[in-house]
């Protein structure tokens, strides 16, 4: 039993605004078709004039239509027949329109020592209205990332996400890798510019744990303009040489931060002086892998202390 009717579409996915040509063939089997049966096209709910109808040698009838501009990202094209006064739908085709993917921009990566993965994110660019897959592609290389030296499995971003994480087992932390993002949909493919980095050099640390020294040691004579602090490196980064920055300001008034730098990443006891006595201070600390490259950690949560 052949199909009663069948729509063929030149290209079911076109650029937004481009024309689409479709033809609908209705077989004689489609229940005693009168010779004058008129094929009618509908796009969504709107009738579409301009279908050219012809008889085929095998008795079937075929109508061809060209929609000059497809302006809906999604549209249902229906091939219908006027039958006993009612419009009968015999076949439907889903048309899609959109744009080829724009070149993803602002690709940046961070080595996350907690999840032990290389987290990369990018700007996907404007919506292409078509289902677009983003793939983080990379290869192992030497210094300048010109010649691939080993493959790394693709990292497929989840639907509608603009980030992907390459797990530790695919990474060589201290070797260079070329890395870029490919965007792909039915209308084309685009590639971001390529980064060349070694994962450990884009490590972003967590800040140390900053605290007041308890019991703050007895000073003779007492020093009301000092605070006794201590901080401890974030454990997963203990093996890394780092330098840190401490910033502080009185809590009230429109003071600005005073920054003490450079500081080591672990200090059992640190005396911060030159402060205003009996004043509430807010303090924060952050660290960075150093002298080897890395990114500054975020500032630690605010520590509030009162001078003597």
């Amino acid at each position: 039993l052949e199909d009663c009717a069948h729509i063929r579409v030149s290209t079911p996915i076109v650029r937004l605004g481009d024309p689409v040509t479709a033809s609908c063939t209705i077989n004689q089997t489609c229940s005693s078709l009168g010779p004058e049966s008129q094929i009618v096209w509908k796009l969504e709910a709107e009738l579409q004039p301009g279908g050219k109808q012809q008889h085929l040698p095998n008795g079937a009838q075929e109508s061809t239509i060209t929609l000059p501009h497809l302006n809906h990202p999604r549209a249902l094209l229906s091939c219908c027949l006027l039958w006993r006064g009612s419009l009968q739908i015999l076949d439907q085709a889903e048309l899609q329109a959109g744009y080829p993917p724009v070149v993803p921009s602002n690709l940046s990566c961070l080595m996350n020592l907690t999840t032990n993965s290389l987290f990369c994110q990018w700007e996907p660019g404007p919506d292409s209205y078509l289902s677009t897959s983003f793939t983080l592609k990379s290869f192992k290389s030497r210094e300048n990332c010109q010649t691939p030296m080993g493959s790394i499995p693709d990292c497929m971003a989840e639907d509608r996400q603009s980030h992907c994480s390459i797990p530790r087992k695919h990474l060589q932390l201290y070797q260079y890798m070329g890395i870029w993002v490919q965007a792909k949909n039915a209308l084309g493919t685009s590639k971001s510019s390529q980064l060349c980095l070694s994962p450990i050099d884009v490590v972003k640390l967590e800040p140390p744990t900053l605290g007041a020294l308890y019991p703050s040691p007895r000073k003779d004579p007492p020093q009301p303009e000092c605070l006794q602090l201590h901080w401890e490196t974030w454990k997963p980064s203990l093996y890394m040489e780092q330098k840190c920055e401490l910033r502080h300001q009185p809590q009230l008034g429109e003071a600005h931060w005073t920054v003490v730098s450079p500081l080591p990443s672990t200090v059992p006891g640190y005396e911060l002086c030159g402060l205003l006595p009996s004043t509430v201070y807010i303090l924060q600390i952050r660290c960075i892998r150093w002298p080897l490259p890395g990114y500054w950690s975020n500032w630690s949560p605010i520590l509030k202390l009162v001078t003597g």
Partner: protein, 175 residues
């Protein structure tokens, strides 16, 4: 014997359960129709009559269940055959689309439950046919559109079938 007398053989619990199952299947079927309309803009079975003819979608008869000519055992048998037919039609719709599949699966499960309930009651009354019905030829839906259009037509026919069943069961329950 007058249908009413025979209705007395039917436990009230069975009739109440059947009425509940009909309402449940009606709700499932309405959900399918609403989804077909919302997702694929196929909202009116009247637009698909011609296609339905060419697809050859069989319908179930309930002639022995109409209140004028109600013949209890014949009615139960027709109910069971109709439900069995709709299980086959829903299986033919397999692969309709990911959005609709859960609704079609639930509808199929509820219809199968109802058919089992009726079959077990016919067994208890000792009127179950010697052989369980076998599925006739089912339509073949060759495209995603045909499966969706088939879904609209099957759901619409099923609703009419269920209305007939509900009237008969309600008539028997009121007896």
């Amino acid at each position: 014997t007058a249908p009413l007398a025979l209705a007395l053989d039917l436990p009230q619990n069975f009739l109440l359960k059947c009425l509940e199952q009909v309402r449940k299947i009606q709700a499932d079927s309405t959900a399918l129709q609403e989804k077909l309309c919302a997702t694929h803009r196929l909202c009116h079975p009247e637009e698909l009559v011609l296609l339905g003819h060419s697809l050859g979608i069989p319908q179930a008869r309930l002639s022995r269940c109409s209140s004028q000519t109600l013949q209890l055992m014949g009615c139960l048998d027709q109910l069971h055959r109709g439900l069995f037919l709709y299980q086959g039609l829903l299986q033919a719709l397999a692969g309709v689309s990911p959005e609709l599949a859960p609704t079609v699966d639930l509808l199929h499960l509820d219809i199968a439950d109802f058919a089992t309930n009726i079959w077990q009651q016919m067994e208890d009354l000792g009127v179950d046919p010697a052989v369980k019905p076998t599925q006739g030829t089912m339509p073949t839906f060759t495209s995603a559109f045909q499966r969706r259009a088939g879904g609209v037509l099957v759901a619409s026919n099923l609703q009419s079938f269920l209305e007939g069943a509900y009237r008969a069961l309600h008539y028997l329950a009121e007896a």
